[in-house]
């Protein structure tokens, strides 16, 4: 196939430059194919994505118990939120769990990807073995990990016992509980991220490494000077997705922490496992306080947005 080289002008990425001048439309009508292309998505999105979002924003300024009338209360929900110690506790918990889960996960993923890149044999088997955890349902896995970390009969304590280390009451201890919750996410998503990194690694042309070797660069140097920068867009994707997903941790604490009829969905002893979304759920469906719950979720949204932007800035230092 012959490639025709056009002068690289910005016009290249703009549509509308039909070679045949048969129809030339004015203004935004030029873009009708684009709008049409995104419209199936956006129509669905408007009804099923945007509408709930706007409804919940509206709801955050009301008091509603799900049945009766909504009562307008202005900023009351938000004022209460700012002074709500439980909310700030849930924020702290969420952040700690997120760090416990995401940092090891992404580092491990990178290491695994690097190893997979070098290994030649059984590559297919490894890829499948590492990715398979992602195929399981979170509910099932949270139940499973709940059993692993059980104090009396869990596998975790059995291993500690075998290593002659003191046993931990995982689901009651503040740090143990967070580690237990974080480990579910780590187990499920490390392989997934590793595969993504692997793809990114394989896209890096080998000549770059050759050239570096010629210049006398060692493996560590080439890792930091070549690999990481080339991987940046991929890393950005995984960091953003992990941030957004990790800060919404809900299923693990809800399922793993033993239920109590009197105080359901409250994050266990001392509420150490209460994440923001779990707190939202508790307010909405246990306390029937939908207005306040909506306010909480918008606070969650702001916080996630903040962290996503911070992470974006950190990773994407130079936007081209």
């Amino acid at each position: 196939m012959t490639t025709i080289h056009r002068p690289a002008t910005p016009a290249v990425t703009r549509v509308g430059a039909h070679s045949a001048p048969a129809r030339r439309r004015r203004g935004p009508w030029r873009f009708w194919p684009q709008y049409l292309a995104i419209s199936p998505f956006y129509v669905l999105f408007a009804v099923f994505g945007l509408f709930p979002m706007l409804f919940s924003l509206y709801l955050a300024f009301q008091r509603w118990d799900g049945f009766g009338d909504m009562e307008y209360v202005g900023l009351d929900n938000f004022k209460y939120l700012v002074e709500d110690d439980t909310f700030w506790l849930s924020l702290r918990n969420t952040l700690i769990i997120w760090v416990f889960s995401t940092v090891p996960m992404l580092c491990l993923a990178l290491v695994i990807a690097a190893m997979l890149n070098s290994a030649v044999r059984f590559r297919g088997f490894y890829r499948i073995a590492y990715f398979v955890p992602n195929v399981t349902s979170v509910v099932a896995m949270a139940l499973f990990f709940g059993a692993v970390f059980a104090s009396n009969f869990g596998l975790a304590n059995a291993v500690l016992h075998w290593l002659h280390l003191p046993e931990v009451r995982w689901l009651s201890d503040p740090w143990g509980l967070k580690i237990a919750i974080a480990s579910v996410g780590t187990w499920q998503w490390t392989g997934y991220n590793a595969i993504i990194y692997l793809a990114g690694l394989q896209a890096i042309p080998g000549d770059l490494y050759e050239a570096a070797k010629v210049d006398g660069a060692g493996p560590v140097q080439s890792f930091f000077r070549i690999t990481l920068p080339m991987l940046r867009p991929v890393i950005l994707f995984t960091v953003i997705v992990s941030t957004v997903g990790g800060m919404q941790t809900f299923t693990e604490p809800q399922v793993m922490i033993p239920g109590n009829n009197t105080t359901p969905n409250t994050g266990g002893p001392g509420q150490e496992g209460l994440t923001m979304v779990l707190y939202f759920y508790h307010q909405a469906f246990d306390n029937n306080d939908f207005g306040y719950a909506a306010a909480i979720s918008w606070a969650v949204f702001m916080i996630i947005l903040l962290f996503a932007v911070i992470n974006w800035r950190l990773v994407q230092r130079r936007e081209d």
Binding site: F45, G49, L143, F144, V148, G200
Partner: protein
């Protein structure tokens, strides 16, 4: 010379050892789940835990089949998962292609709104979504699961990144010169190149739809028409936690996914690597 060879071989063995260990950690829960599914609940409570397979599998499976309509709900889940995957692949790739390769007024704003919804807790949408479904008359119908899922922000985010890397502008230009207009560019030029990215998105969508729990639980009010995860949740009695039954149910539900994944994985993981990540 031979020293280097030995060194390379030793490094190779170390590498494989490390990878094998990781794979074992990754796969261990599956084995453990199998152990629990083949034992009775009381065996599971033993300490130190029993690590070997038991003989209760058939009993447990029979228990599960007696308690819930396993195959009926699996069929429903299959219908939903397949429909959603097809819709998502089509709508999302079309929209992502547009966002990635074309500039038009409002592009930034529209994309921004999209990313925004990504960040709202999913559970928040439950009540307004339910009300919408009530207005549309879709309560209890599988449509309620399929149609909203087609508007998948993650899918667009992923495809956009992928397209940016995988489709060079030259390719589009060449086609344009040959007279291709927008939809042709999408269908004949872009889609073939996007196959690896699409298979990744396809598998991901299929799996997450299969495992979706909260929304189907709420909206499928007709007990004869539920998905697998909803049916399984009935095994989770309020008071009793018959653990072996729950685990067996979860294992059976996972089975089709794992099989499907193993068949298609080689293909898509290999393809994924081919599709350059340059964006």
């Amino acid at each position: 010379m031979s020293v280097t060879k030995v060194r390379i071989r030793r490094r190779g063995i170390l590498l494989h050892a490390a990878l094998l260990f990781g794979a074992a950690v990754s796969l261990f829960p599956f084995y453990w789940t199998l152990v629990m599914a083949t034992n009775s609940t009381e065996d599971i409570y033993r300490f130190p835990p029993k690590l070997t397979l038991g003989s209760e599998f058939v009993t447990n499976v029979r228990n599960v089949f007696d308690s819930i309509d396993f195959f009926g709900s699996m069929l429903n889940t299959l219908i939903v998962a397949c429909s959603v995957t097809v819709l998502v692949l089509f709508f999302d790739s079309l929209a992502a292609f547009t966002f990635a390769k074309f500039d038009f007024p409002g592009r930034r704003l529209l994309f921004g709104i999209l990313l925004g919804t990504f960040m709202l807790p999913v559970q928040l949408a439950v009540i307004p979504q339910f009300i919408t479904m009530a207005e549309l008359g879709w309560i209890g119908d599988l449509k309620a699961l399929i149609i909203p899922a087609a508007a998948n922000a993650f899918g667009i985010f992923w495809m956009r990144q992928y397209i940016k890397g995988a489709i060079p502008d030259d390719l589009l230009d060449a086609a344009r010169i040959d007279g291709a207009r927008f939809f042709r560019l999408y269908w004949s030029v872009a889609l073939p190149v996007l196959r690896p990215g699409l298979s990744f998105l396809g598998i991901y969508t299929f799996v997450s739809t299969w495992n979706d729990y909260l929304w189907p639980l709420i909206v499928l009010t007709n007990p004869d028409k539920v998905t697998l995860q909803v049916a399984l949740s009935q095994l989770n009695g309020t008071h009793q936690l018959d653990y072996s039954r729950i685990v067996t149910g979860a294992l059976l539900a996972m089975f089709p996914l794992v099989i499907m994944f193993t068949i298609f994985a080689r293909g898509f993981i290999a393809d994924l690597a081919k599709g350059a990540f340059k964006g």
